[in-house]
Symmetry: C2
């Protein structure tokens, strides 16, 4: 998808929040805002939101003199999510439908998103979601929570490409991947992360810190955008993307990049902006398991 | 107060919403966004938010080829609020403390704000607030709801200057002014509106449509900003402002312009942005009766 006019205020908000996290002075924050303003025309020139985000964070990184302002935050998110792991694994094991709960938790883990919300209260938010009833999940609405199709496909697939979103969230992905392996012990799973730091998106080091390599082959997509946009990806990734029996895509950024890709995809994410929510006929805050068939 | 960096994303959002209300095409909306971007440096040059809002809405008006994109909306808001008037008047009459309920309703009426929220569901929002318990009002917190000081002053004042905020809200102001007149029949009340159209701020015609002239002398402040900034006001207004025994100021825009003025003021408004909420040590959504003493 292209960048909408409504994305512009959101990018300014993200830039301010990120620049404060990076400890930039108010004078530098102002320079940053002015620099963004000079680039608005380029942002609106047929670019996708993850491409604009890349440009915005490159400007922030330049001012902060770093390649990764979220490095510490990502490590902390991984550590926090790992503390939840034993309890969540127990809950999944004891659930009536382990795959359903594991999928729900993987979607809930998508709350750990520093692009949409720069909160230091991630632990509170995750705990709130985990303590909510499954009303948050629109299970009754097959259009935006197509668990039946998801269940069928996970049982049959011989290969699954799983597209990661954020650090910390990786632990929730690990739980889903483990559960898929239990219902289908013949499946090969590939877990694709970003190539270079962008917001709090997971990198190889996050996948390793969370131990997802115990259950899946970890690879980089080659892209350093906050969403998967195919022309930025490696040939190895593209081969997997088109040949895998099933693609599971986490997060809004990947949806932005892949919602019109030439293959079927299961998008698991929380709708965080009105434009995306509208595209799937859902609402902000909806926990989505959205199936996009091959066109 | 000066314009904060955080105000920038908010102005872009307002500009987009207002330009859609004005029926501008997407191409024109894009031109508008680019024009705003070229002016960001000026916006951040020691100007107050109401001054920036004036510049933003001047740009929108130019593209929409009108002086008042909210003309129809304002008329509708007045009409809607007038339909509530008999029921609200009855409730105030029957209340244990009529002045308290009238003050609460005057604050609740501040929800009718097209700068902060461009909602077509104003009637729903007002009804929601009216049906809520008084928990929304932080009466227990004297710091942000100083009703005792307000009550004492309304009983003693010989002259009150009441600064209007939005169309529609005027009907709620009328109820409060009527009630003040009942507890203090010797007071002269002056109701000051904006001089020219800005967002959905009340003008003389709105005061007249709502019939507030039955209980107060209506005047223009001389300012066409969305908040009262004294250097933009007429001498007549300034004389009243400094000589009145009591000043009641409605809305966030007036707070932005007057929170450090050289006299005591009662600010009645709903906190609609994190910066303002923070300034009074409250939260977004708080119903505020905030007393600022003379420094």
């Amino acid at each position: 998808m292209r960048t909408f006019l409504d994305c512009i205020p959101c990018f300014y908000r993200q830039a301010l929040e990120a620049s404060r996290l990076a400890g930039l002075t108010e004078t530098t924050q102002k320079q940053l805002i002015l620099e963004l303003s000079q680039n608005i025309e380029m942002f609106l020139s047929d670019t996708a939101p993850p491409e604009v985000a890349r440009m915005v964070y490159d400007i922030i990184n330049k001012h902060a003199n770093t390649q990764d302002i979220y490095q510490k935050v990502k490590k902390q998110c991984n550590e926090f999510a790992l503390t939840l792991y034993p309890e969540l694994k127990k809950r999944i094991k004891e659930a009536d439908n382990s795959l359903l709960l594991a999928a729900e938790l993987a979607i809930a883990g998508n709350i750990i998103d520093y692009g949409a919300k720069n909160s230091l209260d991630i632990d509170d938010e995750v705990n709130n979601i985990l303590n909510e009833s499954s009303e948050l999940f629109q299970i009754a609405n097959k259009k935006i929570f197509d668990f039946v199709a998801f269940q069928n496909k996970t049982h049959q697939a011989k290969s699954i490409l799983y597209l990661a979103d954020n650090a910390g969230e990786v632990v929730f992905d690990k739980l889903l991947i483990e559960t898929i392996k239990q219902v289908n012990n013949k499946v090969d799973i590939y877990y694709a992360v970003k190539a270079k730091p962008i917001i709090n998106d997971a990198l190889i080091e996050d996948a390793m810190q969370c131990g997802i390599d115990q259950f899946a082959a970890v690879l980089s997509s080659g892209s350093s955008l906050s969403g998967t946009i195919l022309p930025y990806c490696t040939q190895e990734f593209l081969d997997l993307f088109y040949k895998a029996d099933m693609v599971i895509s986490k997060g809004q950024g990947n949806f932005e990049g892949l919602h019109d890709a030439a293959r079927d995809i299961f998008f698991l994410f929380i709708a965080k902006c009105p434009i995306i929510a509208n595209m799937v006929q859902g609402k902000i805050g909806n926990m989505l398991l959205f199936y996009k068939p091959t066109k």
